[in-house]
Amino acid sequence: MQENELLNAVLSHLPLASDGGGFHPPSIDEFFPPVLLFEGTPFELNRIMLIRLLVVVVLIVLFYLGTRRMKIVPGRFQSIIEMGLDFVRVNIAEDLLGRKDGTRFLPLLTTIFFLVLAMNITGIIPFLNIAGTSVVGLPVVLAIVAYVAFIYAGLKKHPGTFLKASLFPPGVPWPIYLIVTPIELVSTFILRPVTLALRLLMNMVAGHLLLVLCFSATQFFLFTAGGFWTLFGVGTFAFGFAFTVFEILVAVLQAYVFTLLTTVYIQLALAEEH
């Protein structure tokens, strides 16, 4: 009993335990903000949906303006657009799929790359502050697109033998199929799309929560706790800034990884020997 009272006495002096205007750690509710438009209909729009729509509009306008009047000697704006498009074409599509198949799947891969990149980058743009990919819907849609794409690629290239070759890899003695086939089934047809969606989603969720944690802690230390705790506020602010920079890296990296994995899955489906 006495220890408890002692503990309470100590805790009540820590700022984290105070109630009025206390510290609110970020929770999962961050990602389900209140509905803003069309409440009660199936087309309810909240903040994140509006951000997604905004991103789509920005992307369309950007690429329309960037590719409308192409010049042989590109200007500054056109070079940036070309650099981005060239990155997907050369470093991802043609590098892994070869020139012919690379060109065939290029529109899909380019769309995935720039959509994911633009949706991710809203996580660190001031006033938007949440990534369009940080709610499960969009990653799932993109993962389904990738899933359909690689199965389509495989069925088109090896009609009839694709499913057999991916479930029963050749060159294995038959008793091993008892182990290999279930593993291949789960890893190829279930885990691939699930991990594609989860990887993107969880990167964005974790990144957003870290940023919220850093900046709400800064706000709390500076304005609520005061005094000695202000020093901690400086530290958490520095961490928040570092994580913001890190989030830019993560946004680009996840767009790259998502596109790269889609390409690799298509490449594996197209490969002659499974």
């Binding site: 989860l198 969720v205 990296l253 790259y256 690799v264």
Partner: protein, 77 residues
């Protein structure tokens, strides 16, 4: 006789679970990146190819850690 609580933890045990789940992928990512650096040091001209492979390796390894985060949301209901 009353049981005496000597020490008490409040909060969710899932945080500890995620910590455990992150150990494996952390080691894995470390190995992938370390080996890539080693290979680039041996053959700098292959850097581009190796970087692509490194990101692939990281993506597959890291997936386990993200499944680890997701299990908390799946199993708390």
């Amino acid at each position: 006789m009353d049981t005496t609580v000597v020490a008490e933890l409040t909060g969710n045990i899932a945080t500890v679970g995620y910590g455990l789940a992150a150990i494996g992928p952390a080691i894995g990512v470390g190995i992938v990146v370390g080996k890539t650096i080693e290979s680039v040091a041996r053959q700098p001209e292959l850097q581009g190819r190796l970087q692509t492979l490194m990101f692939l390796g990281i993506a597959f390894t890291e997936a386990l850690a993200f499944i680890g985060i997701a299990t908390y949301f799946i199993f708390t209901n």
